[in-house]
């Protein structure tokens, strides 16, 4: 089966600034593809290009086999989009928002009624139909935004930071909805800053300074050689006074990265140093009780390590 989304050497320049630099990837049908990267790294630009809103400076891409350079009108009919801002009309009621977006996609009469019923059922918006969308809580707004984005039964849905500023329960509810739809064959392209959300995705791409620097399943990324540089070891250090210990370890020459996770410190250290040397160096600050164990990198570790390497390489 051909991929639903493809990007081939996609490059987008605004004047002298290259917003997207030679990015290639594919997303298969029914996949939930996570797209991560710092703000301004080009995530939204890629979405706009894939929807045919921006012409690529070079390279190409396709959605459901349609060329993003030539068939944006047809693509828009098959694609749903939901942004962080939700795109809702706050002075219109829930049902009026659905009517509007349905109308925009050319739905009317019985088709529109059927689709409204389906998305309302899916998102449990029934009790709020006549409420102005501006008076909904963040979580319900988000559900309405999703309902509007899928009112025309798109095969592909782009979600641009859909859960920014939403409480954890509502976030989980949204992800449950996404997986239900992906089970029905809808393909999702989701950008996020949340690592737990990234971990839910089947595959993840990481973009930094306009370049796609990592692509694969979460497990593949954690095993990337670049994320686990040769001669280094990741450890978790547990000690009574983690914040004091952090100051000390950051000044040690063989410690490359150190950050606090709850009551522990995650470290990337030169393998040559060893656990004992670390314990010895920590003893003066009263962290003699510390325990150390080797760990696999978390997804955040992977991205931080990759970002630092990339930043060092471009500098």
């Amino acid at each position: 089966m051909p991929p639903v989304i493809t990007a081939e050497h996609l490059t987008i320049r605004f004047g002298n600034f290259t917003a997207v630099d030679n990015v290639s990837f594919t997303v298969d049908r029914g996949e939930v593809f996570g797209f991560l990267g710092p703000n301004g790294s080009g995530k939204t630009t890629i979405i706009k290009a894939l929807c045919g809103l921006l012409k690529p400076s070079s390279g190409t891409g396709s959605i459901l086999g349609m060329d993003i350079r030539k068939e944006s009108t047809a693509i828009k009919q098959h694609v749903g989009y939901m942004s962080q801002k939700f795109g809702l009309y706050e002075d219109l009621t829930v049902v009026e928002n659905l009517d509007f977006y349905g109308g925009v996609y050319g739905l009317d009469g019985a088709t529109l009624d059927r689709r409204k019923k389906e998305v309302v059922e899916l998102t449990s918006l029934q009790p709020y139909l006549d409420r102005r969308s501006g008076r909904l809580s963040g979580g319900w707004k988000q559900r309405l935004a999703l309902a509007c984005a899928i009112i025309h039964s798109p095969e592909v849905v782009f979600l641009d930071e859909p859960t920014a500023g939403i409480d954890p329960v509502a976030r989980r509810a949204l992800w449950d909805l996404l997986f239900r739809l992906s089970g029905e064959g809808v393909t999702f392209f989701v950008t996020t800053h949340y690592m737990d959300e990234a971990e839910r995705c089947g595959r993840v791409g990481y973009i930094y300074l306009s370049k796609l620097i990592a692509l694969g399943t979460v497990d593949e990324l954690k095993q990337l050689p670049a994320a686990n540089p040769a001669g280094t070891e990741r450890m978790e250090l547990e000690c009574p006074n983690a914040s004091a210990a952090l100051v000390v370890v950051r000044n040690l020459s063989y410690v490359r990265e150190a950050t606090i996770f709850g009551r522990a410190i995650h470290l990337l250290v030169d393998q040559s140093a060893g656990h004992d040397r670390l314990l010895r160096d920590l003893s003066p600050c009263g962290c003699g009780e510390a325990s150390i164990r080797s760990v696999r990198p978390s997804l955040e570790d992977v991205f931080v390590t990759l970002t630092r390497q990339e930043a060092a390489a471009t500098r």
Binding site: L53, K70, K85, G87, D91, L92, D99, F100, G103, V104
Partner: protein, 379 residues
């Protein structure tokens, strides 16, 4: 796939956007109230005249006497600075036509028997026709012409002429015999009020969507730039037309300004003006990032329209640069149409050019806005 199919309907989304816009309007009665009734309040409060110094009133001359005496008198008019004698009429018909069409605001007629009567010691008469649709012009023209003829009469009397008053001037104020300032101001005000209201409403409705992020959302739907524009222009165009009818009714009922010309023509010729200001509103919305910016830009178009369109001050009196500016402002042409039809009973023959200029401006503004929308991907 054909090209048309691939491009899709260029007006896609117009109907849903239009319907939604009506819901927005109905949801926000405060805005609707201010948009519709504030101008009316303004109009009702505008019960006073603003007097200005008048110079160089465009004047048409019909000299049937063609004598030394008549030429002398006309020179005096010309030298007074109040009259600018730019046209010569061949008949009474010419005289009246020039004033109806707005080409001249005053007409001087010296009858054929002017010199003969003077020589015979009889009282000679000069006729002064004045366009009363401009109250400031009227009173000034009357005063100045009285002064000139008094001066000439005294000179003749001093030179030994017989009789009481050798020359008499008969004023005929056309179109606005009572020289009521309401007649002058109210028709002009319609243009100003409509412009202020429509430009602001259209620009705000789009800039608000940009601020809220819904415009970004729409760009990713099949809504096309032209569909968005038509969907936005239709409701506000209708509101503008409704406001126009309301003000015309008020003008007729409250201010008792009669409409001398054809009401149908007036409504018809107001369409190109509505088109133009809708286009200007759209154009502003493509430039403004925030509602504050849109407001400033709308005010930027309004102030020159108040002062330079002929609404308050006579265009002919303005320095050259301001006269140029007045000629690129839509309000100038619409005020000419309004005053022409309402006060002077002008017809298509007199005003078609003004309507055509507005149509051209409107088309240009809308095409320019469409171009901007397409270029920016409706964002």
């Amino acid at each position: 796939m054909t090209l048309a199919k691939r491009r899709g309907n260029p007006f896609s989304g117009a109907w849903p956007v239009c319907r939604k816009e009506f819901t927005h309007i109905s949801r926000d009665p405060a805005t609707l109230f201010f948009a519709l009734f504030l101008p009316i309040m303004q109009l009702l409060l505008f019960g006073f005249a603003i007097d200005t110094n008048i110079r160089q009133i465009p004047t048409i001359v019909l000299d049937e006497a063609r004598t030394q005496e008549s030429a002398r008198l006309l020179d005096m008019f010309a030298n007074s600075d109040a009259f600018h004698m730019n046209t010569v009429a061949q008949s009474d018909g010419d005289l009246r036509k020039a004033i109806v069409s707005g080409k001249a605001k005053a007409g001087i007629k010296i009858p054929a028997d002017f010199s003969r009567r003077l020589q015979n010691g009889q009282q000679a008469t000069v006729l002064l026709l004045i366009d009363g649709s401009d109250s400031t012009v009227t009173s000034y023209a009357v005063n100045v012409s009285n002064g000139i003829l008094l001066q000439e009469s005294l000179r003749r009397l001093a030179g030994g002429a017989a009789g009481a008053m050798p020359i008499e001037v008969r004023h005929t104020v056309l179109f606005n015999p009572s020289t009521r300032s309401a007649n002058f101001f109210v028709p002009g005000m319609i243009a100003i009020v409509l412009q202020a209201m429509i430009i602001m409403l259209v620009a705000f409705s789009i800039v608000r969507e940009r601020e809220k992020g819904t415009l970004e959302q729409l760009a990713l739907t099949p809504v096309k730039p032209l569909g968005l524009m038509v969907g936005k222009m239709t409701p506000y165009g209708l509101l503008g037309f409704l406001e126009l009818c309301t003000i015309l009714t008020l003008m007729r009922v409250v201010f008792r300004v009669p409409i001398q010309g054809s009401l149908i023509l007036l409504l018809l010729f107001s369409l190109p003006f509505l088109l133009t200001i809708l286009g200007v509103g759209l154009l502003i919305s493509t430039k403004a990032k925030t509602q504050t910016e849109a407001f400033q830009m709308a005010m930027g178009t309004l102030l020159p329209s108040v002062f330079l369109s002929g609404y308050m001050f006579l265009i002919e009196n303005m320095p050259l640069v301001f006269r140029w500016i007045s000629h690129v402002m839509p309000a100038t042409y619409f005020i000419a149409i309004l005053r022409g039809i309402i006060l002077r009973g002008a017809g298509i023959g007199d005003l078609w050019l003004d309507a055509l200029v507005l149509l051209g401006m409107g088309t240009a503004a809308i095409l320019l806005a469409a171009l901007q929308f397409v270029r920016s991907g409706a964002q």
